[in-house]
């Protein structure tokens, strides 16, 4: 299936009629601690199967012929539709699994490709954890590898087939980063649904001697010796940050578009709200910021597909996209007036999701620190004597 036709099919799936329905999928009542969303389960499954059927995983994964450039517009569409799914985690997990050689036969990759296997990334023990330095996991190696540890804010843990647990485990040479694939449906895995602002599917996962898939070259469950897992994890995280930045750009577009549409219809003081400069200029400024973020994110996608180091660009794109999504969705509520606060109006939905989704791969502070570190490397001894702008040109 060609990238173009797959992308066209996705775009058809997320058509103007279906988008409002998709936005409400996975929306739970406050205080609902049930593990599965029984109401929308059928539609959710149908959308997921539709996406897998048109080859969305092929678009996302280099191992399947896709890449960042190919998936960026799809990630944006998902953002505009506020599509809640295990998609982003599954892609991130599959990316690491492929890069680290955890699935040498490609058995899991095959099932990921056709949509029959989904994976959640479980890397955060505490909310404030820095994903570049995941917290501890306990590993017991006997006949089988067993993993124990707490993981929070794991997306769609109740829906997925596997968890990719990432963390530091004790090794002969001190703590080392490991990544293990854990089947989700087993007694060693217990879940509690968080009740969060986004009212989405984030879970506290407790791993208690949970059996791992005997993956990797020696079947132990983690990458073989000589694999630079921390390096691969950084790259995988950067690519995931870019996909999330695109999702948040799409979300911002959805919020701006919804609000501009409302402003054209809503009559105030004898004319449409859209005729007033104050709201029009605020929306225009958000639209300009949106295209700046998209330009940065898509360029980093292009560079990433060419094999360039995109850690800084990805981090910058996510930082700006997160801010924009929060601002655009808050403006959506403001310009809808009190109607924007109601459950009927998507403005509040954009707002809640934007605030939560922008945190998934790092807080503002973490992203700013990460970017500062990477910028310092760029302008380090090797970069001295050239302006930063010129150093950035090295990859242009």
């Amino acid at each position: 299936m060609s990238v173009d036709s797959a992308r066209a099919d996705v775009s058809e799936l997320f058509d103007a009629d279906l988008i409002p329905v998709i936005r409400r999928l996975g929306e739970r009542r406050r205080g609902d601690s049930g593990l599965t969303d029984t109401e929308g389960a059928g539609t959710r499954l149908a959308v997921w199967q539709g996406l897998a059927g048109v080859g969305v995983m092929d678009l996302a994964l280099p191992s399947l012929g896709g890449g960042l450039r190919a998936i960026a517009p799809v990630a944006e569409l998902m953002g505009t539709a506020l599509y809640q799914s295990p998609f982003f985690d599954t892609v991130m997990a599959a990316d690491l699994i492929a890069a680290a050689g955890l699935d040498p036969e490609g058995e899991l990759a095959g099932r990921v490709a056709d949509g029959s296997a989904t994976i959640a990334v479980a890397a955060r023990e505490q909310a404030a954890d820095d994903l570049l330095q995941p917290a501890a996991l306990e590993i017991a190696s006997g006949d089988r590898v067993l993993v124990s540890g707490d993981r929070r804010f794991v997306a769609f843990a109740a829906d997925v087939d596997y968890l990719l647990a990432v963390g530091l485990a004790a090794g002969q040479a001190g703590p080392a980063l490991i990544a293990v694939v854990v089947p989700a449906d087993q007694p060693g895995v217990t879940l509690r649904r968080h009740d969060d602002l986004g009212r989405g599917d984030l879970y506290h996962v407790r791993l208690d001697q949970a059996a791992c898939v005997p993956a990797g070259p020696d079947g132990r469950g983690w990458p073989g010796p000589g694999t630079d897992l921390p390096g691969l994890w950084r790259q995988v995280l950067a690519r995931a940050q870019l996909r999330l930045a695109c999702y948040l750009a799409g979300l911002s577009h959805g919020a701006i578009d919804l609000t501009a549409g409302y402003a054209r219809e809503r009559q105030v003081f004898g004319q449409p709200l859209a005729k007033f400069q104050a709201p029009a200029f605020r929306l225009a400024a958000l639209a300009a910021r949106l295209e700046a973020v998209r330009a940065l994110a898509h360029r980093a996608c292009e560079d990433g597909d060419e094999g360039d180091d995109i850690a800084l660009g990805a981090c910058q794109a996510l930082l700006l996209a997160g801010d924009l999504a929060a601002d655009a969705s808050a403006e959506a509520i403001q310009l809808h007036g009190s109607y924007g606060l109601t459950e009927d109006c998507d403005a509040q939905l954009f707002y809640r999701r934007a605030l939560v989704d922008a945190l998934l791969l790092g807080t503002r502070r973490q992203l700013r620190r990460q970017a500062a570190g990477l910028a310092a490397v760029r302008s380090g001894p090797a970069g001295r004597g050239r302006g930063r702008g010129e150093a950035a040109d090295a990859s242009s």
């Binding site: 775009s11 450039r69 960026a72 517009p73 944006e76 505009t80 750009a249 799409g250 577009h253 701006i256 578009d257 501009a260 402003a263 054209r264 859209a274 005729k275 400069q277 709201p279 029009a280 200029f281 929306l283 225009a284 400024a285 639209a287 300009a288 910021r289 295209e291 700046a292 973020v293 998209r294 330009a295 940065l296 898509h298 360029r299 292009e302 560079d303 060419e306 800084l312 660009g313 981090c315 910058q316 794109a317 930082l319 700006l320 502070r365 700013r368 620190r369 970017a371 500062a372 910028a375 310092a376 302008s379 302006g387 930063r388 702008g389 010129e390 950035a392 040109d393 242009s396």
Partner: protein, 384 residues
């Protein structure tokens, strides 16, 4: 409404080689020395027709997208943008370059007659002549439909009468692109015509107006100057439409971005210290986004698909970062940042002090922020 696709912006091999050549030349001792002399020039002096322009012109780099017969290299929008970006990064003043090549030269190239092109373009491309613009008047700025300068028909000729203000580099210019009213109509934007006005003419009086920056404004009084048919640019009465069409071709945001990048680079050492690093990282991210957006606009120009709304977004986004970058420089440097180039203790020859004076001009020049937002709101969002 669907999001528009984002075109690729990576440079080709040839363009990268061109960029490397331009950068190497501009970082050479000759150019660096010339830039330093400009930065140290006394308060009463002002850079005009620079040696650097002539050096670039001799290589065909001042207007690389122009055909060779007019002094260019027959290259594209990307190469033009590369020169502009690298000039700004190297601290070469680019106002006269933008005015002469990107605005007046581009107008002549696209809508001029063969005679006008042959006569006027080569000296501009060689960096031997400066052309400037006379649009704004005491009573009209962003709204050019209010302009009052008139051009009365006098047989085959036109007689111009009026006052223009806030134009720059006029004291160094040989010619100016001047908008004047050739007929009165019910609709105010009808009847405007573009003229190529020789600045050294009896009847043209140029008076400097000091302002916040080192680049003076001028008031130009045009008192009965007679111009012939060969001094009219484009069809008579089409000025309004031509201005709207042609000014977009100059608007990419790349020059605005590159100037800010130079300001931020100036305080990179202080900015990466603890306590400042995170704020620095955020400004750095915004400038990276401004640059990426500018190159998207340039890619569109190169592909022959200019997007005026995207260009307005790019100009707005880049220029709106100016205040933040200038103030960051001032905060990281403290009072030392307030020292001007004429103070022997000023760090980096007073670049932060200059940045603070130039920052407000970014939101005003080449179309104000409000005009940019108006374009975006009306043509992209269906508002207003």
């Amino acid at each position: 409404m669907r999001l528009a696709p984002v075109a690729g912006t990576r440079l080709t091999e040839d363009q990268r080689a061109f960029e490397a050549d331009v950068r190497e030349f501009l970082s050479g001792a000759e150019v660096r020395g010339a830039v330093e002399r400009i930065r140290r020039c006394p308060p009463e002096a002002e850079p005009g027709l620079l040696d650097i322009y002539r050096w670039l012109g001799a290589r065909g780099w001042l207007a690389p997208s122009w055909p060779r017969e007019y002094g260019g290299l027959g290259l594209g929008a990307a190469e033009s943008a590369i020169v502009t970006e690298q000039m700004c990064l190297a601290g070469v003043p680019d106002d006269a370059h933008v005015l002469s090549i990107d605005i007046v030269g581009t107008f002549i190239l696209h809508i001029g007659t063969d005679r006008q092109r042959q006569r006027l373009l080569p000296p501009l491309a060689r960096g031997e002549s400066i052309a400037t613009v006379l649009f704004t008047e005491p009573g009209c700025g962003s709204d050019l439909s209010r302009l009052r300068t008139t051009a009365e028909p006098a047989g085959e000729a036109w007689r111009l009468q009026g006052t223009k203000v806030y134009n720059q580099k006029t004291q160094f210019g040989d010619m100016a692109l001047c908008a004047a009213r050739t007929s009165e109509h019910q609709v105010p934007w009808a009847g405007i015509t573009l003229f190529l006005l020789p600045l050294v003419s009896p009847g043209v009086t140029i008076t400097p107006i000091e302002n916040l920056t080192n680049d003076r404004f001028h008031e130009v009084t045009i008192d009965g100057v007679e111009l012939g048919p060969d001094d009219v640019l484009g069809p008579v009465g089409d000025g309004w439409q031509l201005l709207n069409e042609m000014l977009v071709l100059e608007r990419t945001g790349i020059d605005f971005h590159a100037k800010l990048r130079r300001w931020l680079d100036s305080v990179a050492a202080e900015g990466s210290e603890a306590g400042w690093a995170e704020e620095f990282a955020e400004l750095d991210a915004r400038l990276a986004a401004a640059r990426a957006l500018a190159w998207r606009v340039i890619a569109g120009l190169g592909a022959g698909t200019p997007d005026p709304a995207l260009a307005a977004m790019s100009k707005w986004y880049a220029s709106e970062q100016a205040a933040g970058v200038a103030r960051f420089g001032l905060q990281t440097r403290g009072l030392a940042g307030a020292l001007s180039a004429w103070d022997p203790e000023a760090p980096d020859l007073g670049l932060v002090e200059a940045a603070c004076r130039y920052a407000p001009t970014h939101r005003l020049g080449s179309g104000t922020s409000e005009v940019m937002l108006y374009i975006v709101a009306s043509t992209r969002l269906g508002l207003l």
